[in-house]
Amino acid sequence: MAERLKAHAWKACVPSPVPWVRIPLSPRRIFSYFMKIFWKQKSVIPGFGLSLGFTLFYLSLIVLIPLAMLFVKSTTLTGPEFLEAATSPRLMAAYKLSFGASLGAASINFFCGLLVAWVLVRYDFWGKRIVDILVDLPFALPTAVAGIALTTLYAPDGLMGRLFDPLGIKTAFSPLGIVLALTFISFPFVVRTVQPVLQDLDIDMEEAAACMGAGRIKTFFYIILPALFPALTTGFALAFARALGEYGSVVFIAGNMPMRTEIVPLLIITKLEQYDTAGATAIGVVMLVCSFLLLFLINGLQGWGEKRNHDPEKL
């Protein structure tokens, strides 16, 4: 970098009438050479300035400035005020519920997703294509529709609720119902992250394991599971992140009883309805920071998975 910079700095001099005197660097040239170093263009393709300019403009207008507002607004609160708004007892109960239910849903999907991905990749059966297409249903079905459907199903007089009611298990309007709704909306993540990895898995090692006398269960735990592990954890984290922010499907089935079945996004809406913008902002900041942390974690996990897939030595 330093050498290139030096070469460019030499060339960047303003041409002078006397060749042995160099007039250094006009600002315009500094800028244009700076652009050349950092945004190195060797391409004949036009439209770099236009497309990048529009992209950055639109990105700032729609995403960056609105999201920055959340932090700008939160600075109007003093530290203690912020802490009080973000850690009230009602909110602490909601954090506990949101994290617990999301963790539960992601764990259920960890196992169910692995099973469904396994069956879809390894076996052939009638209707397999339909099942494969249907896995994406939670992405396509609006969350509110999923919410009312699940509530109707699991309400005490519903088709599924009727089965659980005599056992004394309350499904709808309880934390269990929230876990059910979150399981539905985060179902595709583990399947869709594990499926391609399982598809590309080399069966040589499994064959070797079988030749050396390992049973299928042993092969699964020693050969297949370690290879799938990065994809599984990525899917788990994606499902968890999605479940944590989910609102539409949960509000119907939760019953929304304070301290018992209120999730964090619901409390933001409650605060807004009470015109407590500052309180809503404080919760919003906590949630946004959580999603940023999860985003970093997921990026790291994906990097780990890619490194492992491309580098069999590191297995």
């Binding site: 391409s43 393709i45 989910e246």
Partner: protein, 285 residues
């Protein structure tokens, strides 16, 4: 490769030495089908069962009320505005990212994906903070009598935010994989930049673009959390179809709620089928 299989026992696609016994295969497949049935299919069936609970006539009656029709109209409007905006953005972002090298590219890609990792309610909240009466632009908007929050513009801009990455994240890897050769050939043969784009690039990316638009449309029409924060729930004016479902459900008008929901369920099924068709089309090429 389509393998016809009418055997009731799931067959293995792998050599027998690395496959499970027949009984285990059967158990695993039935477990997976059971999960798919109870988690995915049963809720979908409930939607249609709820809609047709009291017969077809009642379904039609409760579907075509003036409020529902205006909700359908608003939903279509919102989708019709957010699709072209985000398609233009997606193409522009993919062009900049796939065709050129510049500093901070990976960071830009993760910024584009940002709206996916933000909770829908927080997405709605940021626009309330920006345009609401206590927000940054609130007093300015009040003075000029412009309504954004609790009005249609707020719903549109929130939907645009929520569906922002769909087209871009389909097109960026696609255009990166296709490389620059075709465009360079076209340009050296004397085509202008726009000619190259419309005649060379666009036909190459049209299936990827369509795929993104299908997903974007499903999300734009179905978004609930974010839109619910900024809409104000004024029936007939600022309710989209998912919000109308909520209002009807909370009024204990279950037939009405499920009849609107059945339209959204059909939309979801159409989305899945179209998506599968596009996937099949691009794989067979």
């Amino acid at each position: 490769m389509i393998r016809k299989n009418f055997n009731i026992f799931p067959t293995s696609l792998y050599p027998s030495v690395v496959s499970e016994r027949k009984e285990i295969r059967l158990i695993l497949t039935f477990l997976a089908l059971g999960i798919v049935f109870f988690v995915l299919i049963l809720p979908l069936l409930t939607v249609f069962a709820g809609a047709f609970n009291e017969g077809f006539v009642r379904y039609i009656q409760s579907l075509f009320t003036p409020e529902n029709l205006s909700a359908i109209r608003l939903t279509l409007t919102v989708a019709a505005i957010s699709i072209p905006l985000n398609v233009i953005f997606g193409i522009s972002a993919a062009w900049a990212i796939a065709k050129f090298e510049f500093f901070g590219k990976r960071f830009l890609i993760s910024l584009i994906d940002l709206p996916f990792s933000v909770s829908p309610v927080v997405s709605g909240l940021v626009f309330v903070l920006l345009f609401g009466s206590q927000g940054l632009l609130g007093s300015f908007l009040n003075a000029h009598d412009i309504k954004i929050i609790f009005a249609v513009p707020g719903i549109v801009i929130t939907t645009v935010f929520v569906t922002f990455p769909f087209v871009a994240r389909e097109l960026i890897p696609l255009m990166q994989a296709q490389g620059n050769e075709e465009e360079e050939a076209s340009l050296t043969l004397g085509a202008s930049g726009w000619q190259t784009f419309f005649l060379v690039t666009l036909p190459n990316i049209r299936w990827g673009m369509l795929y993104g638009v299908i997903l974007l449309n499903a999300r734009a029409m179905g978004e609930f959390g974010a839109v619910s924060v900024v809409s104000g729930h004024i029936q007939g004016l600022t309710t989209t179809m998912p919000l109308q479902v909520e209002i009807l459900y909370n009024e204990y008008n279950f037939i009405g709620a499920f009849s609107v929901a059945s339209l959204l369920g059909l939309l979801a099924l159409a989305t899945l089928v179209l998506k599968a068709l596009v996937e099949w089309k691009t794989h067979s090429k």
